[in-house]
Symmetry: C2
Subunit: 203 residues, 2 copies
Amino acid sequence: MMTLYDFMGSGNGYKVRLLLAQLGLAYMLVERDIMKGETRTPEFLTKNPNGRIPTLQLDDGTFLFESDAILWYLAEGTAFAPADRLTRAQTLQWMFFEQYSHEPYIAVARFWKHFFDKLTPQQETELPERMKKGYAALDVMEQHLANNAFFVGNRYGLADIALYAYTHVAHEGDFDLTRYPHITAWLARVASQPGCISMDHKN
Amino acid sequence: MMTLYDFMGSGNGYKVRLLLAQLGLAYMLVERDIMKGETRTPEFLTKNPNGRIPTLQLDDGTFLFESDAILWYLAEGTAFAPADRLTRAQTLQWMFFEQYSHEPYIAVARFWKHFFDKLTPQQETELPERMKKGYAALDVMEQHLANNAFFVGNRYGLADIALYAYTHVAHEGDFDLTRYPHITAWLARVASQPGCISMDHKN
């Protein structure tokens, strides 16, 4: 059986838990508390040298890291995998957009505000730029969703999972989603997919 | 013929130019100067709503963005594409590592130091953390390359292209690569691949 090393508050981890649930795959969940440095121990670094969750141990013992690479692995051969060369590239396009232009702003602002009582002076200095770039990412999503029900190929898939994870909790970073009617409607469409679980749902 | 919108100083753009050269694919190069905001014009935003290079227009007119998604598209059906489910996931693992844990530190520090005469006060404040996290990414690479000639499957591929782009110019951000003998040997192996071009080479 696969083993998922994860932290329940992580949107990156939630992506993987969501797809595992929708695929109906059994796995063992091993929680590691990132607030206590439990992914930076010598023992954990032998699993993932980059010291992060989610990390998935496959049946053959291989450890796989990076949430979106794990999604890609799990989806292969299922209805969640994009069906052709162009939709594969477009799916990856939005997944890389998420990790580069969305997560470092929306997830990080949420992390600072939601998991700590008080921001450090350095975080206070950086926060306005993080919020600004987070809203820029939401603007790009809103524009795309004005003409598309889902991110790629007009059906629910990996790009939606990747972007849903931190967008649906963006309010925990004080992002105002009421400005974004198309994103709001898309969030509801994703939440109504069969097998959609909440972020705190354990297998 | 495909059209590549690019900025010659960009490592993200270089990834795409390198693979296009190694595949022997013809394309039209259209340079956009990111220093002058030429990727944020209303006209360019119709091509890529996220306002970045590289952006590739395919033969059917579709615009594709995000360097690593473009690499994936171009490699499909060629010897550069990973051959099985596990190596596909491992290739993406290192490509996402590059965009999340490497590029924001190594490429950004290089951009600040190499393209501007003087850092802003905000950049001065952020630089030590960027350097620290850049070295952390290099540490992860060094450890992996101590036991592997290339990043995935013991042969040159997309993960190497993605990580080579900004690592081979990391000294322009004042990163000291002499500390990393395994990275240094890998850089030489990549540079000796058939069709490897320099960063300023135009098609």
